[in-house]
Symmetry: C2
Subunit: 145 residues, 2 copies
């Protein structure tokens, strides 16, 4: 299954970089893989602390950076200024619908939008490397309340 594959990706990265294996990293990786949410550093920390009480905040930061470097995840900096990590493996490019009330993230794709973006860039002579599209609003359940 996918989780296995992701563990391999990270193991490869550790090997490639001549890093060493560690219990804490395993713990954090398991937690990260189990959650399909866009976790904040603090959420990761709170979860990790349950599994490994002595774990330090700095380890979460360091490990998240490694996850990103290995291609497993990506930092997401949103309007609220809080960094979140989102899964990359098995997730093709997508944008986000973000509920400003409950904080829910929905991943969306629209090939039409992608195409128009490319055109826009071409018109200005830009060579696009990446883009960021965030749609803020109220989600289905929050707008009813």
């Amino acid at each position: 299954m996918a989780r296995k594959r992701e563990e391999e990706i990270f193991a490869d990265y550790v090997r490639r970089k001549n890093l060493k294996h560690s219990v804490q990293r395993d713990t954090i990786l398991k937690i990260f893989l189990k959650s399909e949410k866009h976790l904040t550093v603090d959420e990761l920390y709170q979860l990790a602390k349950k599994a490994a009480p002595g774990i330090g905040y700095a380890t979460i930061y360091r490990t998240s950076k490694h996850f990103c470097a290995s291609g497993l995840c990506r930092e997401l900096k949103c309007e609220d200024g809080i960094t979140r990590y989102e899964h990359l493996y098995g997730h093709s490019h997508h944008d986000h619908l973000i509920c400003t009330k409950c904080g829910k993230f929905i991943e969306v794709v629209d090939s039409g939008i992608e195409k128009l973006q490319e055109e826009l860039a071409r018109k200005e002579g830009f060579m696009l490397t990446k883009h960021k599209l965030e749609l803020y609003g109220l989600c289905k359940s929050c707008r009813k309340k």
Copy 2:
């Protein structure tokens, strides 16, 4: 001309909020209006210091907040984590093409993209309040170098 209009908008705001007039604010406003760039707080500060040597960093922050509250400008939080302020008066909604090399900001609009965003949101039951689209890449002159 437009600058005059913007000064009026801010004066109205000051009156409405029962604030007081101040020399420093005038200075910062003039600098902000003169520049069509997306200034960072630090850039604003450096420019203001030339015109009013004793000016404090905190005053720049406070004043920028007032500009935003008055509707003159808007905070822009980008990937690099640095906040920039952009003009709002006379600038209808737009997105940004951002050069990752020289830092240039180009304002763009595409009604097609806007429409597709609305559709996307509707499909998910979202009520959109705002969105953010940033296209990162190399601008025409930077890609030649």
